[in-house]
């Protein structure tokens, strides 16, 4: 019990620190959102009229008052859940914009994260069981090699081969626009069709970490005395492998998986930029480049809260799964 209470307390403290940093950091950036907006509309080769910049400043209602006042207002707003109106998408609220992008990221990155974990863990366990055979060599060396390739390079190769040359898949986008977004089968099929290449590129590099760690953990547990005792007692090989080895070896992977869930909210920036996928990563990039403070702050907030919550869950999960940890905390 003390273990869980201490974890919760730590979570709240880091949450407050994250929220405060979240307020400070965007404001350290130089640059004026109104200027940025007008300049973008004018492009590189048109003279910018200062009256336009002034009117946009009035429109956006850029923050006034001292930094401390702004901070207090910000804390109040966060507690209320009022994240303000985006500058880049004025007058739509930040919640509306994030609400549109979040499902895309959660589905794409969530599904590939889970699949990557499952595939990686199974392959790792299998390779560990078959250690020192050809299968193990292929899996280990293969994943090490793939792990050294830059992710965006793999993604670009996939686009070049499958989208441009073979034209089996679209080059970019979350959906084609011909079908209106809705909960119809046609739209979902269209979205899956567009999500195939991004998911594939994530699945090529995703499982690698899980494979290596699972394999190494399991090789370790397979060498333990209790495994040899179980085999000597004549238990089925499958039971020894699953219940006695894999279940112990999987513990670090499970907590890693739970922590990884936290990063889903931030999206995978590179995937979304390369594939033009309308998720949180691309939104975050756009918010940063256009100094859209309300949107930027809220995305950072969601990301940090997501990571913190996932860390908390991982801590609690580990406490539940592994009695040794709980006993240590009480001691």
């Amino acid at each position: 019990m003390r273990y869980f209470a201490s974890r919760l307390g730590f979570f709240l403290l880091t949450l407050w620190a994250a929220v405060t940093l979240n307020f400070i950091i965007p404001r350290l950036q130089p640059g004026d959102p109104a200027q940025s907006m007008v300049q973008r509309l004018a492009g590189q080769t048109e003279a910018v009229d200062p009256a336009a910049i002034e009117s946009v400043r009035v429109l956006l209602g850029l923050p006034t008052g001292s930094i401390l006042e702004q901070y207090v207002d910000y804390l109040k707003a966060v507690v209320r859940g009022d994240f303000g109106i985006s500058y880049t998408y004025f007058p739509y609220s930040v919640t509306h914009i994030i609400g549109e992008a979040l499902p895309w990221t959660i589905v794409l990155v969530g599904v590939t994260h889970v699949l990557g974990f499952v595939i990686g863990t199974l392959l790792g366990a299998w390779a560990a069981w078959k250690r020192n055979t050809k299968f193990d060599a292929v899996v280990s060396l293969g994943s090490t090699f793939l792990g050294t390739l830059p992710f965006f390079w793999i993604a670009l190769i996939l686009i070049y081969v499958f989208a441009f040359t073979l034209r089996w898949f679209p080059e970019a986008g979350g959906y084609s626009g011909e079908i209106e977004p809705s909960w119809s089968w046609a739209f979902i099929a269209d979205a899956v069709y567009h999500g195939f290449l991004p998911a594939l590129s994530l699945l090529i590099t995703g499982p690698i970490g899980w494979i290596m760690s699972m394999r190494n953990n399991m090789v370790h547990t397979l060498g333990e005395d209790y495994t040899r005792l179980a085999q000597a007692k004549g238990l089925r090989t499958s039971r020894v492998a699953l219940v006695y080895s894999a279940r112990v070896a999987i513990l670090p992977n499970v907590t890693g998986f739970a922590m990884g869930l936290g990063t889903i909210v931030g999206g995978t920036l590179m995937v979304e930029m390369i594939f033009g996928y309308p998720g949180m990563g691309k939104l975050m990039y756009e918010a940063i480049s256009s100094r859209d403070y309300p949107l930027m702050q809220t995305i950072f907030l969601f990301t940090t809260v997501g990571v913190l919550l996932a860390n908390l869950c991982a801590d609690i999960l580990y406490g539940i799964l592994d009695p040794r940890v709980r006993r240590e905390a009480q001691a």
Partner: protein, 572 residues
């Protein structure tokens, strides 16, 4: 396999998984085939086009950022394309600067502070209600009520706007404001009967826009915007296109360029390197482009710092820079080199002062530059470096260029090499665009690039970069006069220009301003920014071009009423 040996037979779950996987793949393939068909169907119509009309023109991006929201408020900076839905009072031709009547038929300056505009009769809004001068007065008064929408800051000059009858509007200004006509002419007019109901026009997203323009909004989602022909348009017989189809450029600039190469855009405005090879060569009969000059892109020097405060030093620099090399190497030969007068030539030749030699074009002559410097008292030291008038070597100067603006960075490097010939050391720095903007505004620079002029407003072309009201001391942000030019004569001439009603008088004053540019060199214009414009003649002809510059690419309403179907087009 240890799991197979353990179970002894293939479990039911494996069959279920196989079935699910197959179903999934079939669904994906089905969607793939379906989506593929949609793309090729787009131009061959299903319903068949109305006789004499082209069914669809493929356009480029429609604004709104990466996740465009439905916003058709023409005064909002985050709005989508509304140029085909709402119209303005007069069209000031981007190329020739002629004033063409549009929603208004004529105008008179009854005094330098009173403008009377007569609106066109017989125009309807797209919902059938009649358009009148009351809508014009309403639109301008809307900006007074909601200053966040006043994109031109017109109410800093206006004192009142009233509709004196069904087709006459009177604008009263606080001071003589003849040059403000351009901003009055350009303003898009919105319907009173819809907008008067909005309590907060600044936040109004106008989801179903009602305008007087040739097109109305048919549908919109985050990937595409479809506009359809408005049969109630007052020039409907001139509009020969049924639909304008805008696509978002997801996938970035590279994918967009590939689409352009494949002929998927009929009308676009993209920067394309090596356009002859990458675009025109793909279909030389139909793929065309035209890059008319836009604004001046100039070298801005910090006039509060020595030696930039010495007019002879600045004059020497005008001879030291190889503008032709910048045009060829940095700009792919797409642009034209600029005249020192600050005019965009040859389009604005009518405004050129008669006693300026060679149209104000300064040739590249490093020897002459060295001579001018020597005569002014700048000696070259034994190390080849230039010395100030006090005999001490000049410090290295910084040239701040926006990171990522590759062509500007290249131009800066050419200038650096040119100045090295004179013994002046220049460091090209590339902070982010926001930092460069902030530093330029506050005067924290030695050299930067600045953009000024272009357009048809001579008053703004010289006022924004040179009037003392537009500047501020170093350390405070200046509005647009970043070089900190303070000259009583410039200010007086500009104030005179604001009152000049007759074109002859205006030309005389602008001539004097050009002389200041040439003799005193407050800034050094280098090249004219190009307006990007690609078009295809496969479906429609009648585009403006270098051979037929009846309008600039920005005069979209003029262009759409001049396009007519290409008789050779075998689609619909």
């Amino acid at each position: 396999m240890w799991w197979r040996r353990a179970q002894g037979r293939r479990p039911r779950t494996t069959r279920a998984v196989t079935a699910a996987a197959t179903a999934f793949l079939v669904a994906v393939a089905g969607a793939a085939c379906g989506a593929g068909d949609n793309a090729s169907d787009s131009d061959r119509g299903d319903s068949g086009a109305t006789a004499g009309l082209v069914r669809r023109l493929n356009m480029g991006d429609f604004g709104g950022g990466n996740a465009p929201q439905r916003n058709f408020n023409p005064f909002s900076p985050t709005a989508l394309t509304t140029t085909f839905v709402y119209e303005m009072l007069f069209n000031i031709n981007d190329y020739s600067c002629e004033v063409e009547p549009w929603l208004a038929e004529s105008f008179t300056w009854e005094s330098p502070t009173k403008l009377v505009v007569r609106t066109r009769k017989g125009v309807q809004w797209s919902d059938g209600k009649p358009f009148s001068a009351k809508d014009v007065a309403f639109t301008f008064n809307l900006f007074k009520k909601a200053p966040g929408l006043d994109r031109n800051g017109i109410w800093s000059a206006l004192s009142s706007v009233t509709a004196t009858s069904e087709d006459e509007v009177t604008f009263t200004f606080k001071e003589p404001s003849v040059p403000r006509f351009n901003q009055i002419a350009d303003t898009r007019i919105v319907p009173e009967h819809i907008w008067s109901k909005e309590s907060d026009p600044e936040k109004f997203t106008n989801p179903n826009p009602v305008g007087t323009g040739p097109f109305t909004v048919k549908s919109m989602n985050s990937q595409q915007l479809v506009l359809e022909r408005n049969p109630r348009y007052w020039q409907a017989d001139k509009v020969k296109v049924q639909e304008l189809f805008f696509r978002k450029a997801t996938g970035g600039a590279e994918v967009d360029k590939l689409r352009l190469q494949r002929g998927e855009y009929d009308w676009n405005a993209m920067f394309v390197p090596d356009i002859e090879k990458t675009y025109v060569a793909k279909d030389p009969k139909h793929n065309k482009y035209w890059f008319p000059p836009g604004a001046n892109i100039s070298l801005y020097m910090n006039l509060t710092k020595a030696p930039f405060d010495d007019v002879e030093f600045r004059r020497a620099l005008t001879y030291a820079i190889d503008r032709e090399e910048i045009k060829d190497k940095a700009q792919y030969g797409y642009v034209e080199t600029a005249s020192q007068t600050g005019l965009v030539l040859p389009g604005q030749k009518a405004w050129l002062a008669p006693d300026i030699e060679n149209e104000g074009r300064v040739p590249y002559d490093p020897e002459r530059a060295k001579q001018i410097l020597a005569d002014a008292g700048y000696q070259t030291g034994p190390d080849g470096k230039l010395r100030g008038k006090d005999g001490k070597p000049l410090p290295a100067f910084s040239f701040k260029v926006q990171n990522g603006w590759v062509d500007w960075i290249q131009a800066a490097q050419i200038i650096r090499d040119n100045l090295a010939d004179l013994g002046i050391t220049l460091n090209v720095q590339t902070p982010t665009p926001e930092i460069v903007d902030a530093d330029r505004a506050s005067g924290n620079f030695d050299m930067v690039f600045g953009v000024h002029g272009g357009g048809c407003n001579m008053y703004d072309a010289y006022r924004l970069p040179l009037h003392s009201a537009q500047t501020a001391p170093v350390g405070k942000p200046a509005a647009s006069n970043f070089v900190r030019w303070r000259d009583a004569r410039t200010d007086d001439l500009l104030d005179e220009l604001a009152q000049a009603q007759e074109e002859e008088e205006q030309k005389r004053i602008v001539g004097e301003l050009q002389k200041i540019m040439v003799e005193q060199v407050p800034v050094i214009p280098l090249w004219y920014g190009a307006q990007w414009f690609q078009y295809r003649t496969e479906k429609v002809v009648g585009w403006p071009s270098a051979e037929d510059p009846y309008a600039g690419p920005g005069d979209q309403l003029v262009i759409i009423t001049r396009l007519r179907p290409n008789p050779e087009y075998r689609g619909d």
